[in-house]
Symmetry: C2
Subunit: 367 residues, 2 copies
């Protein structure tokens, strides 16, 4: 189904940020979209808006910029994002290609990266494509539907927060983009704005994850609506996202370290109410990738593991999860493409160093 183009203003940006932060599974382009949201809102208040277009309306030969912030979430919360920085790798890529882009879209809809194309779009007037390459957030660059489809990994552009712009003009594969770009990102301070390999309209239509911006908007609006109506935001998320609640409890312990450009660690949660007496652990590499009830793995990547505030339904990031928070652990289904053999090779449990065969939480018996 092709949806009409729609204009996103300040109100939609609020909902988008809320929804993207839930889909971020704890991370995504610097984690909490709050600062990026404010950058876009300020542009909206200057009279700008963003035109969100359906991927099916792209011409086959249209050229789409795939944008993102790369780095460790904790760092991106210290160095505030800005729209002009987000635009820099796009301009570097255009200079390299010798032509302008026709549209911009997110590498990942989750977390701050859900807002990244909005920053560029609001500044340039490029339309934003209602799609992304992950349908959530993942920590590494090769974890996209485009990489699973075997599309070219380069060229690739990266800009740090100073005046350093780097273009990887030729590259062996997406793993090498990740290795080289991760090293550069670490050296420049573990945060960088990037523009990934340009995709044609035909490639976005064939291999992108469609309508994920709308999905984030819908999730965010459901939470907003529930809050206005004094209903349970968690129930609203589960209904809007076809999700399942796995656990509710209090965070009692967090291990967290920033290494090799990633934020890694785990959080332990003691059950409350119906979950009293049980313990749940979530493991993360920028994003949550595994959840254990006691010692038993019950939910794992590529299913979305969403940790949200048990009362407000706000996303909680791996950089911010802390002792004492009352949280709910939810699972949402991810895009089909990542549950294929090729998809699991790139984003399954073993891609995160966990020796488990993927079992969907939606197919297993309830924990």
């Amino acid at each position: 189904m092709v949806t009409e183009a729609r204009l996103l203003g300040e109100a939609e940006m609020d909902a988008l940020a809320l929804g993207a932060w839930i889909l971020g599974t704890g991370g995504g382009g610097g984690g909490d979209p709050y600062y990026k949201l404010w950058n876009v809102k300020l542009l909206c208040r200057e009279g700008r808006s963003v035109r969100l277009i359906d991927p099916e309306t792209l011409a086959d030969d249209a050229l789409v910029a795939i944008v993102s912030t790369m780095g460790a979430p904790l760092v991106a919360q210290e160095r505030l994002p800005d729209c002009h920085h987000a635009l820099r790798p796009v301009r570097a890529m255009e200079a390299h290609l010798g032509r302008r882009f026709d549209a911009v879209m997110s590498m990942e809809i989750g977390g701050g990266n859900g807002l990244q194309p909005m920053m560029v779009a609001a500044l340039t007037g490029y339309p934003a494509v209602d799609a992304d390459g992950m349908g959530r957030a993942y920590p590494e660059l090769q974890m996209t539907s485009f990489a699973v489809a075997g599309l070219p990994a380069g060229p690739f552009a990266l800009s740090d927060i100073r005046d350093n712009d780097v273009v990887i003009t030729n590259v062996v594969d997406t793993d090498w983009v990740e290795r080289i770009a991760r090293r550069i990102t670490t050296e420049v301070g573990s945060t960088a704005a990037i523009c990934m390999a340009p995709r044609t309209g035909a490639e976005v239509k064939r291999h992108g994850i469609p309508h994920t911006t709308s999905q984030a908007l819908r999730l965010g609006q459901a939470v907003q609506h529930a809050r206005r109506e004094h209903r349970d935001p968690i129930a609203a998320i589960l209904e809007a996202g076809d999700g399942r609640k796995l656990f509710t409890g209090k965070v009692v312990d967090v291990e967290r370290r920033t290494s090799e450009g990633f934020l890694r660690g785990r959080a332990r949660i003691e059950g409350l109410a119906a979950d009293a007496g049980r313990e749940f652990t979530v493991l993360f590499q920028n994003e949550f990738f595994l959840g254990r009830l006691g010692e038993r793995p019950v939910v794992m990547t590529p299913d979305l593991i969403c940790v949200v505030d048990a009362v407000s339904g706000d996303g909680i990031g791996t950089e911010a999860i802390r002792y004492g928070q009352r949280i709910s652990v939810l699972a949402l289904p991810g895009p089909e493409v990542f549950r294929s053999a090729a998809g699991l090779a790139v984003v399954g449990p073993r891609a995160f160093g966990v020796d488990l065969d993927y079992v969907s939480v939606f197919e297993a018996t309830a924990p």
Copy 2:
């Protein structure tokens, strides 16, 4: 004085390699030029040659490619160099600039990098400029006369041994080129071919170190001549290079480690003949940067510290110096520009982590 253009064939390449290896002060673009020499010689045997031109004959707006191998010498001796790899960053830079180069020259005349422009020149027909940016070899990219002069540090191109090409299109300064390029080089295996910021003819004439290719040729030919005449090659080097012999002895201990993309360590030498009973230590970071007689520093960067075989006069690299070798430690004077305050800030002892004021071995009393 402007010299005539001259054609370099196989015989000149032999002499150039010999001389460049002495000027390499233990390193320079992968250390021992032997493998690069053979690459160029094979092209010469196919009927190619290299036209060596005086920098003064460059048009002011000519564009010169500054080429080099970057990495740890030990690694470059395991992964053999080839001319097509040396050319790749030059082509990447040309694609970035949208124009062809007019000539090619060495970032550093010392070691394998003295041959680097010859590899590119023999393959492309570009003339090689009789000049470089160091007058020797130094371990880091910002240690050039162009950086001391404050010329722009970018753009910069790097190619690994696979098919990864990276262009730093904008950069804050040469320190940032070094930091970013060193991280990439380390990630791709501690060896890469690079093309540094392009220089105009006017810049090369004003800020390059002139006639260093000729100097390497002259040194090499002096050694070849001495060997043919059964005279002492060491004396020939000292005469051709205005040098001073500091020590002769046997290597008794070597510490060596490859870290952060560099080869670091030290070698201890026990005196022989006139130096019997004394001990000399040379410290290195890819290249030799400090020599101590007993505990007393007697020679230091930017003076050239050349360790050569005591009999043949062949250069000995920091990657190859080993127990039992009979060696002579020679000092040769370096380019004036590096003895200025701006020069010493970039290549003086403190740039190598040694808290010493530079004293020229040629001005101090003999050890």
